[in-house]
């Protein structure tokens, strides 16, 4: 067992990597969680000794990665310790053939066998029946198959089958330069483009031992919040549309359009594509443009607030939201829920409050007075976060935005040499997307990508949706789904 341990600024230190033998794997993971570590994803890889299992844990001061070689292609499961590892283990099995001893049954996730028993939870009882929806939908929705087990109108269980358009982007990036890797990550998802690329860039910079300067932190935070702005506006519109409440849906769709036009003006792209670079930022917003953007945001904020207050008094809308798709705090914690979904249950975690590589100063996660964990709570959390986003954007745009870069730092001097071509490292970055925490792990090998793993907020929350759906009415499912508003592309990476 060897541990590399370097730390000066909490959160700025590169991840601590712990190599363990296969039989110590479970214990090492248990020890991490015993020391206050939060499970942030598991992924397989290929090492010199064959298959490898890696598990990321977030601690208050530093991220830890536990790595174990599994020469026989088999390793102990940790799904009984961390329920959130369910999808990760199934994916590792499907993509790498890594078997998890004790994970029974290990149903396929990315692989799509024809036999329903191979991927669904069995349902017994003579009144139960199944309703299949998708993968082709009537609306403009990505491909996903939902198989409901139902009694009457009540949902017993939901089996999800996603990964219809898995592109193998992570594998395709292997062996490429770090800059090319960024382009691969850029293509993962349109609505989370900034989050994913910032996470990747930070992971690379962390692996190489760089920290962003003030300008780079400002630019990236600005882009992240612009992304959150249009996504949250869109999600509120989607919830209104889910119950057929046209005035709310149209008003918020209009706000989203205005936010995207602002994106276009500030960055040249409505979805903020290609705005993030490795170790640098080229975003430039002059004094006059920043002032104009602030004025537009202030106007948007005011109108959004007015419509939001009207939604509060729309009884027919509010009536549909309470108690629907409720998720308990215990379930959210157990399943590793993240983002607005988790905060709606009263969990007080937001990666923005622990992001020294970004310009979130004294950030406090959104909290609800009544954290009921239902659709209504998820809607309200988004509104609180919109208020925060407007405030952060206003503050960030109070000075002009100039190109930024990175400086050496974050580890003890002498531990690394910036620009050293032979440097091999492992970087972990966690960034809060509009849908929750996105974790990116990059193993670098001579400035090339050796292994890339992206675990987005959507990936963490899809299994949570299944839990929130249980015991609800079938016609309420579209509403519950929209209150999560998860990406399909984000898991089809």
């Amino acid at each position: 067992m060897s541990t590399r341990h370097v730390s000066i600024v909490p959160g700025l230190a590169p991840a601590a990597v712990e190599y363990v033998r296969a039989r110590e794997w479970r214990m090492a993971c248990e020890r991490q969680s015993g020391a206050g570590g939060r499970f942030c994803g598991l992924f397989a890889g290929r090492g010199p000794m064959g298959l490898q299992a890696n598990c990321v844990f977030a601690h208050a001061d530093q991220d830890h990665v536990v790595c174990a070689s599994a020469p026989g292609g088999e390793i102990d499961t940790i799904v009984d310790l961390f329920a959130a590892a369910e999808w990760d283990e199934r994916e590792a099995h499907d993509c790498y053939g890594l078997r998890f001893d004790g994970h029974e049954p290990l149903r396929s996730l990315i692989d799509h066998p024809a036999e329903p028993d191979a991927w669904t939870v069995p349902i017994h009882g003579h009144d139960a029946y199944r309703v299949a929806v998708g993968p082709i939908h009537a609306g403009v929705i990505e491909s996903g198959h939902f198989l409901f087990a139902v009694v009457g109108e009540r949902i017993l269980h939901l089996d999800l089958r996603l990964f219809y358009k898995h592109r193998g982007l992570q594998i395709a990036a292997e062996g490429r330069s770090l800059a090319e890797g960024l382009r691969h990550v850029q293509r993962v998802c349109g609505a989370c483009a900034v989050t994913n690329t910032v996470a990747y860039a930070q992971a690379c910079e962390s692996a190489l031992g760089f920290t962003p300067d003030r300008q780079l932190r400002q630019a990236r935070t600005l882009l992240l919040e612009l992304e959150r702005l249009y996504n949250h506006l869109n999600d509120i519109s989607a919830i209104c549309a889910g119950v057929g409440f046209a005035p709310g849906a149209t008003a918020f769709a209009g706000f989203k359009e205005r936010a995207q036009r602002l994106n276009q003006r500030l960055s040249g792209h409505r979805f903020l594509f290609d705005t993030v670079a490795l170790g640098a930022s080229t975003l430039r917003i002059g004094q006059a443009d920043a002032l104009a953007a602030r004025e537009e945001l202030a106007a948007l904020h005011q109108e959004e607030g007015r419509v939001w207050r009207e939604l509060q008094f729309a009884a027919s809308l509010q009536d549909r939201l309470d108690g629907v798709g409720a998720l308990t705090r215990a379930d959210a914690e157990r399943l590793g829920a993240t983002g607005p979904v988790a905060r709606a249950t009263g969990l007080r975690h937001d990666t923005r409050s622990e992001s020294p590589r970004l310009a979130y100063r004294s950030f406090t996660p959104a909290t609800l007075l009544r954290a009921t964990g239902d659709v209504s709570a998820r809607l309200n959390v988004r509104q609180i976060e919109l208020e925060q986003t407007f405030a952060i954007l206003d503050q960030l745009l109070s000075s002009r935005v100039t190109p930024g870069g990175v400086k050496p730092g974050g580890a003890e001097p002498g531990d690394f040499k910036p620009g050293d071509a032979a440097l091999t490292g492992l970087g972990v970055a966690r960034v809060e997307s509009p849908r929750g925490e996105t974790v990116c792990v990059v193993k670098t090998d001579r400035r090339a990508v050796e292994r890339l793993h992206l675990r987005t907020g959507s990936y963490a929350n899809w299994p949570v949706l299944v839990c929130a759906t249980r015991d609800n009415l079938l016609p309420d499912f579209p509403l519950i789904n929209k209150s999560f508003e998860l990406c399909y592309a984000c898991v089809d990476r």
Partner: protein
Amino acid sequence: MSGATVAAGAVQLVGGVLLGPAIVGLIQQVKARLQGRCGPSVLQPYRELRRLWGKSGVAPEPRTLIYTLAPAVAAACTGLALLLLPIADLAPEWGLGHDALVLVGLLALARFALALAAWDTAGAFGLMGSARDLMLSVFVEGLLLLVLLLFALPPGSTDLLSMSHAATLPEVWEKPAHWVAMIGLCLVVLAEIGRQPVDNPDTHLELTMIHEGPLLEYAGRELVYLQWSAAARHWIMLVLACELAFPHPGSFAAQIGVLTGGVLALSVALAVCETVQAKMGVLRVPLLLGSGAALCLLGLASWLAVGGGG
């Protein structure tokens, strides 16, 4: 048969067959305007029907005659129901009579044919939609009968012509029973033609569908029959509401004017209602219809208490 009766028959046929889609189109257009969109033209439903008419049909396997005949049965029931409607207190005698209960029966038969077809092919969405439709119809039909009963009290007959004629008499408006029946009728209209808050006709979300669900399996001309039936149902319910509830004294021409104005006003009202109201939870709808029924029973009690019959 007088000239006015012939004219009434012409309105029955022409209006019923041709104007249903225009009402649907008008509601869509007003809704779009209220939401700040341009929206499709009022004629869009006609274009849809023409497009579908030119398409070949696709039928699921396995199926039986029940599935094949259902659209024709539904369209025939709706077509017959058109002939029962009084226009300006008049209607030619088509050999069906003009009994309100026959109208209720025909509407139920159309619904039943579609439910059987959904059962026949056993598609999940069709069965789900028609199961909800049948569950709601228990309440909708009960409320419709109660409402019709209240309107039948003044003339002492369930003949639609007498009921319509009774509504022209000014003393009807002094009775609370009439006002209560109008409220009940509004709920029935919403539920019967599948409008928000009961059902959302514009949704693409199969899991939330009620009336649209059983239609999903159909294509081509069979779908035209069903779409037309749904549109004609709008005409039937709106004309019924105007004839039974709106005051319409005066000459035949004036009555036609009142009817036109009434149908237009109700279409706009439906659009407004659909815009400001979100769709209800499906299990809340019986509660809404139940409270309508309770109100109607109160109306009945008030009629008996004030001795309306005497």
